[in-house]
Structures are given as C-alpha cells and as structure tokens.
C-alpha cells in the first residue's frame, strides 16, 4: 500500500469513528478498540471530536422554542390566509391543534390548555403546552387563582415525571424535576419575602382521599403533616391539601416501584413537590 492509499485508508477509519461518535453516540474507547492498529493516531483526534461534539450539543431554551414555533406557524397561517388557502383544506394535524390551542387560549383565557395536555418533555407539542401554560399564567391575575394554577401545573409536571419514569429514562425525569422546581419557584416569586422550607417533612398517619378508593371513603396513609386538612382551613387550602396528598402518594407509590438512580431522581421529585406544596398552602392561608 503506498502512502496515498494509507492516507485514504486512515481518512476512512477516522471518518467511521467520527460517524460512530457524532451520529451514533458510540464511545471513544469502543472506536479505539475497533481499530487497534490506528489507536495511537486516532486517540488525540477522537478526543478532540468527542469534546467538540459535546460542546456543540447545545439546545435552544424551551420557552424560546415555543415562542418561535408559535410565531412561525402564525406566519404560515397568515400567508395561507393572504393566498386564500382554506385553513382546513388538509387534514387537521397536530400543528393546527397546537396553534388553535394557543390562539384560543389567548382569546378565552383558559380551558383550552388540555388540547396539548398529553405531550411529554421531548415531544414536539410539549413546548406548545408549556407556552400555552405560560400564557395562562400571564392571563391569571388573582393571586388565589394563580396559586391554584401553579399547583395544577405542578401536578401536571408530576404526572409527566411518573409517566417518564415508567419508561426508565432518567434524563427526562431529571429535566422534569427542574421544571417542577421552577414552577414552584415562579409561584413563590410572585410573593416577595416568602420563606422557603428546607427540612424533610414530618409525616403523620391520616385518613385521606385517594383516587383508587371508593367514592366518599378515606384511606389511612402516611403523609406530610402540613398536608392534613385542619379545622378552619378555607376551601382553597383544603383543596390544595387534597391535591398535595394525591400527588404525594402517587410519587411515593412510584418510588416504591423504582430502583437505583431512577429512585433517587423520584425522591428528588418528592422533595421538590412537598416543599413546593407547603409553600402553596402557606400562600393560600395568607390570602384567605
């Protein structure tokens, strides 16, 4: 083999390794082991490739993506209108559902958010859902209503986390945990000087409403003391506590069925959830 052929051969080996690392997530070590005769020359290059690929693996912010998508689809719709192309000439796809949800939400101020409600982090419609939620928050002016809304959104995040954890994919669960924390932080941020709680919750055995129990029957369960309904609690506070207990028990149940890092991630979910709801309940009390 002459020098040119050797160079061409190395270029091809290097390309194969680069493709494996860049396009197929293969490890650097695997590539080196596949070509031991070239490992010495390949290693510094592939280290550079792996580090560069990692640095380049950035993503736009979810809220930006949602806004950009909305503006883009609105522009498409505007052009269609100008050209007099009937909106429903083609089948009603998810895009139209998404745009309709957001537009209708902007007009009506609520209730349409469920149109994209089943999407999960990582799915195309998810950012539409988050954007719609942000609009809904922006259109909710009463402090009490906003606290309720944040609590509803937190429950939605918990549903997502539980669904994601069942797929066994830890990354999206961790991301959803952060989003859950952000949701509670935004709620607390609407009230200045609100004290956060950092201690693990004190648990008590109590009779609580759970979805799986027959209607009207309560079930004995160990729940955070702050979630137990007390005499004198307003309807808002009692409602929040009921929701908090339902979410708490759902997360605990999922933790019991999980192991390893997923269990740890769900325990973090629980900690964020409890702290967030304790804040929500205190806020609701202050507003009462």
């Amino acid at each position: 083999m002459n020098r040119e052929e050797m160079n061409n051969n190395f270029d091809s080996v290097f390309e194969k390794c680069m493709e494996d690392i860049v396009c197929h997530n293969r490890s650097l070590q695997d590539c080196l082991e596949a070509y031991p005769e070239h490992a010495g020359e390949l290693k510094p290059l592939l280290v550079t490739v792996a580090a560069s690929r990692e640095a380049a693996g950035v993503s736009p912010r979810e809220d930006f993506k949602a806004r950009a998508r909305y503006e883009f689809y609105s522009a498409v719709a505007e052009i269609r209108e100008k050209q007099n192309i009937p909106w429903f000439r083609h089948s009603m796809g998810w895009v139209q559902v998404g745009i309709s949800a957001v537009v209708a939400l902007m007009i009506t101020g609520g209730g349409v958010i469920a149109a994209s409600g089943s999407s999960l982090p990582g799915q195309p419609l998810y950012s539409v859902k988050i954007f719609a939620e942000q609009i809904q928050v922006g259109l909710t002016f009463s402090e009490t209503a906003r606290t309720q809304l944040y609590a509803n959104l937190a429950d939605r995040r918990v549903d997502e986390i539980i669904t994601l954890s069942e797929d066994g994919n830890i990354g999206p669960v961790m991301e959803a945990n952060e989003r859950l924390g952000s949701s509670f932080a935004e709620m607390a941020g609407t009230y200045s000087g609100f004290p956060g709680t950092q201690q693990p919750p004190a648990l008590v055995d109590s009779f609580v409403d759970v979805a799986s129990a027959p209607e009207g029957e309560k079930v004995r369960a160990s729940v955070p003391e702050s979630f137990v309904i007390e005499d004198g609690d307003s309807d808002t506070v009692a409602g929040l506590k009921n929701k908090a207990v339902a979410g708490y028990l759902a997360i605990v149940q999922r933790i019991n069925g999980a192991a390893g890092t997923m269990k740890a991630a769900l325990e973090e979910t629980l900690a964020v959830y409890v702290q967030g709801y304790e804040n929500a309940i205190k806020l609701a009390r202050e507003q009462a």
């Binding site: 160079n7 061409n8 190395f10 270029d11 091809s12 290097f14 390309e15 680069m18 493709e19 860049v22 396009c23 650097l28 290693k43 510094p44 290059l45 280290v47 550079t48 490739v49 792996a50 580090a51 560069s52 690929r53 990692e54 640095a55 380049a56 693996g57 950035v58 993503s59 736009p60 912010r61 930006f64 993506k65 950009a68 998508r69 503006e71 883009f72 689809y73 522009a75 498409v76 719709a77 052009i79 269609r80 050209q83 192309i85 083609h90 089948s91 796809g93 998810w94 895009v95 139209q96 195309p124």
Partner: protein, 180 residues
C-alpha cells in the same frame, strides 16, 4: 417521488403539516450550527428564527436539486451568520480572552477534554473556511458524511480528507492555546 421532495412540494403550497415537519426536523440542528459558528447561544436563537422566517418567505422560489432540503436551510443559515459577523465586526467590541481552557481530568494524557461552546467557536474561527464548515456541519448537526458532502457540494473522499485535516488543526489550536 422522494419523500423529502414530496414534503417540500407540499410546503411550497403552504401545507402546514409539511412545514411543521420540516421545521421540527431542522430547527435544533440549524440552531446548533449557528451557535457553533457565532459562539453565542442567545443570539443564535434569534438568528435561527430569522432563518426559518426567511425560508418561509423564499420557499416558493426553492428548486429541488437532488440535495436534502436541509442543505438549502444551511445555506440561508450560513448567509445569516456571515451578515451577523460582518455587522458585528463593524461594532467596537471587547476582545474575548483567546485562552482556551482544555481540562484533562483523566490520568491518561489526552483522554478527556472539556471545552465550552464559546471556546470551540473561537478555535473554529482559526481554521480555514472549508474546515470550519465541515466541522460545524458534523458537530452541530450530527450529519452523516454523505449529507455533509451534499450540503458542501463535494465528494465524500474530499470531505473525509478535509475533516481529518480540520480536526488535526483544531487539536493543535486547543493544545497551543492551553499552553502545552
């Protein structure tokens, strides 16, 4: 008919589902390409949005040429980046620190590197334009070589040789900037 071509034909008739599919398939990749070229994530967001708005306005003049639709989007993105960098060089700016910190935590020399996006973008700017392009397309878009060749209008062999020399040069820049 090629599925990509069919999709683009529908998009040219302003079919919203076709546009949505093209948008979702390409948005993040175009964003990463721009972010890597300019080294600024926030500004890359605005430029990415502009790329898709320009694509929407120009789609009627798009002609299918046996290359992926993404090649056309990259061309728009490339022009957008060139305009952006041209305007930016006209403005007085604070010089960025040229040092690139390449951390090595692994006891095996050169086994693990860590660079940030901005550092990588600065290092890429020291390469030739073709080297920059091939690495930006590969790293940011995770494109296979055949697609990169299509976007760049070159044959695969030439792109392989180009990326080899580009990574070698990038490596040298990283090591030199680290003071080794």
């Amino acid at each position: 008919m090629h599925s990509d071509q069919s999709l683009v034909d529908r998009a040219k008739r302003y079919d919203q589902e076709a546009f949505a599919q093209l948008y979702e398939e390409n948005f993040d990749r175009i964003y990463r390409y721009i972010a890597l070229k300019i080294g600024n994530q926030m500004e890359a967001e605005d430029l990415t949005q502009q790329v898709f708005m320009k694509a929407l306005k120009s789609i009627s003049s798009y002609k299918w040429q046996e290359v992926p639709f993404s090649a056309w989007l990259y061309k728009i993105a490339h022009n957008q980046v060139v305009d952006y960098l041209r305007k930016k060089t006209r403005q007085p700016t604070t010089e960025l620190n040229e040092d690139i910190t390449v951390a090595e935590d692994n006891p095996y020399k050169n086994v693990e590197l860590k660079v940030e996006l901005e550092q990588l973008a600065r290092a890429l700017k020291k390469l030739t334009p073709l080297q920059q392009e091939v690495l930006a397309l590969r790293f940011s878009c995770e494109m296979p070589i055949a697609q990169v060749a299509g976007v760049m209008g070159k044959n695969e062999g030439a792109v392989k040789a180009l990326q080899h020399s580009a990574v070698q040069a990038l490596r040298r820049i990283m090591v030199v900037n680290r003071g080794e």
